[in-house]
């Protein structure tokens, strides 16, 4: 655990609400309030909790989509929270994010090739389209899609296919840390398993560290090494997958676990 790739200490992200009316008071919402954890290289840490507990905000803060209020996040020994947008830009290649809604996360006006080529050119991984197309084809193959889809537009694909393209957009940069924000929650249950297995396989094959944000404990159990349970902006319990699922300590974790829907046939035997 000493050489953690990402080490977060006392992270706080607060939002100010719009003042009600011209002179109304502004309220502070403490979405993330003092969160600390480490992710080792090649490890999958899941962040679970109910809606609104701040788990997505953690991910969004780490990718500079939200501003942090206080705390530290050391990535490879460098505090990423205090960097200016320009200083953070080269690091974006290493820290990538998979988004939740495959219908909203692809620009409907761009072809798949344009969508996947964009990050390559930003980070100078390809100098021209010929080079880019080779990389795009490789990555599409990696996520189980034919290279022929390059010239198509997002609306021609199903949700599962789109999410694969979203994953390809992340994988094409060969990141070190991937933040998956509810990456399979918007998909059909049957497709969820496929995409989840794909994410797990890619993560294992390339030794990526992953922060997997989800409210779905079944999914979390399948993919993670360690689990952190979040409640109202704070981590209430953290441990290996087995510790959390077999022997939950905190009352909230137990409540969460008991809320997993199960098929009732087994109760007859018990």
């Amino acid at each position: 655990m000493t050489e953690a790739i990402l080490s977060i200490r006392d992270l706080k992200t607060h939002f100010q609400t719009q003042a009600a009316g011209f002179l109304g008071e502004k309220k502070v919402i403490k979405a993330v309030d003092g969160v600390s954890f480490d992710i080792a290289p090649g490890e999958v840490l899941s962040l679970v909790g109910e809606s609104g507990c701040g788990k997505s905000t953690v991910g969004r803060t780490l990718t500079h989509l939200e501003k942090s209020t206080a705390g530290q996040a050391l990535f490879d020994g460098q505090d990423i929270l205090t960097l200016s947008p320009a200083q953070f830009r080269p690091l974006r290649r290493d820290i990538q994010m998979i988004f939740q809604d495959p219908f909203a996360s692809l620009n409907p006006r761009l072809t798949i090739e344009q969508t996947l080529g964009e990050p390559l050119f930003i980070h100078g991984l390809a100098k021209n389209w010929a080079e880019a197309r080779v990389l795009i084809a490789e990555t599409l193959d990696l996520v189980g899609m034919a290279p022929e889809v390059m010239t198509r537009h997002p609306h021609e694909f199903s949700g599962g296919q789109r999410q694969r393209i979203g994953i390809a957009r992340v994988m094409i940069l060969k990141p070190k840390l991937v933040i998956a924000d509810e990456a399979v929650s918007a998909l059909d249950v049957s497709i969820q398993a496929q995409v989840l297995n794909l994410i797990k396989k890619l993560q294992r094959d390339s030794g990526i560290s992953m922060l997997f944000i989800s409210h779905d404990l079944g999914v979390v159990r399948h993919i993670s090494d360690r689990v952190a349970v979040m409640y109202q902006g704070e981590i209430v319990e953290m441990g290996t997958k087995h510790e959390i699922f077999e022997n939950p300590q905190h009352a909230y974790t137990r409540k969460l676990l008991s809320a997993i829907p199960r098929i009732k046939t087994r109760q007859v035997n018990a």
Binding site: M97, P108, R109
Partner: protein, 301 residues
């Protein structure tokens, strides 16, 4: 003929579409082609444009030369003055075609100006948000509050009467509404995940605005632009009618109608023909705008 060639295009596109995949733009165009009213309107507009551009060269009379044998001549086929002549013996058909040309040019230039300014302004205000947005949109509100006729008159007084100034003045007024529409659309788009994905992969704000936001505004912008064109033609006609528009001997549809209405009782054709042209032009532009709206709107995918 024209309709037939459209049909051919339709089938070609369907055949090609199955191979390479259609963009949203192509699908919208396909839907537009299925809209009969819009297609007939485009055919009429195309005829009007072709006539305005090329027909004057084949006419026996110029738009500014008097025919000394025919003052105030009613329309007739034998004399060659198909639309008649005005009080100075100038051929009305030639003048109407020139007027159409000027009106369309004003409309195109002013629409272009309003799109360029309005889209950039609105997209920047919407994407940046916060104080920048507030400041930019309050400026638009102030411009709205100024009566535009006063604005145009002031411009004319300062710089003198000039067709290009008219283009600029109308364009400068029309971009305000465009900016508001674009800002609203930008606000709706900017929180979509693909914008965040672009930010997460390190795109600069400028690149996000012009590569990710502006292309997604095509629908509303095209629709509004198509509806702006007739508005500008009408505004130009109105300004010309008031005497702020184009100068003699050059003419526009508005000027012609203004002159025609003075002589309505004795020389009615001076009013009827330019008015008919204006109505045809406005109607076809409106139908095309309507068709575009239907083509882009049905489903946001």
């Amino acid at each position: 003929m024209i309709l037939q060639s459209f049909k051919c295009n339709l089938f070609n596109d369907v055949a090609e579409g199955e191979v390479s995949g259609r963009s949203l733009w192509q699908e919208a165009m396909l839907r537009l082609r299925r809209n009969k009213a819009a297609m007939i309107a485009s055919a009429i507009l195309a005829l009007l444009i072709i006539a305005a551009l090329f027909l004057p060269a084949f006419l026996p009379y110029g738009y500014e030369d008097p025919d000394w044998n025919a003052f105030r001549a009613p329309p007739s086929i034998e004399s060659g003055h198909y639309f008649g002549t005005d009080q100075n013996g100038r051929d009305l058909l030639a003048r109407t075609l020139y007027g159409t040309r000027v009106s369309l040019l004003v409309a195109l230039v002013a629409t272009f100006v309003s799109i360029v300014i309005g889209v950039s302004y609105g997209a920047i205000a919407g994407y940046m948000g916060g104080r920048i947005d507030q400041a930019m949109m309050r400026f638009v509100d102030i411009m709205y509050a100024l009566p535009y006729i006063l604005f145009v008159i002031l411009l004319m007084v300062i710089f003198g009467r000039n067709v290009y100034l008219l283009f600029a003045a109308i364009g400068m007024l029309e971009w305000l509404t465009m900016a508001r529409i674009v800002r609203g659309q930008t606000l709706a788009i900017k929180n979509r995940e693909f914008i965040e994905a672009a930010r997460a992969s390190g795109r600069s704000s400028a690149a996000i605005i012009f590569r990710h936001i502006v292309p997604n505004l095509v629908g509303p912008v095209v629709i509004y632009a198509a509806l702006t064109v007739p508005e500008i033609v009408a505004t130009e006609s109105f300004l010309s009618y008031l005497g702020f528009g184009v100068q003699e001997p050059l003419t526009s549809l508005g000027t012609l109608i203004a002159e025609g209405s003075d002589a309505m009782e004795v020389l009615p054709w001076l009013l009827w023909f330019p008015a008919a042209f204006l109505v045809l032009l406005l109607m076809s532009l409106l139908f095309i705008g309507d068709g575009l709206r239907d083509a882009f709107d049905p489903k946001d995918r």
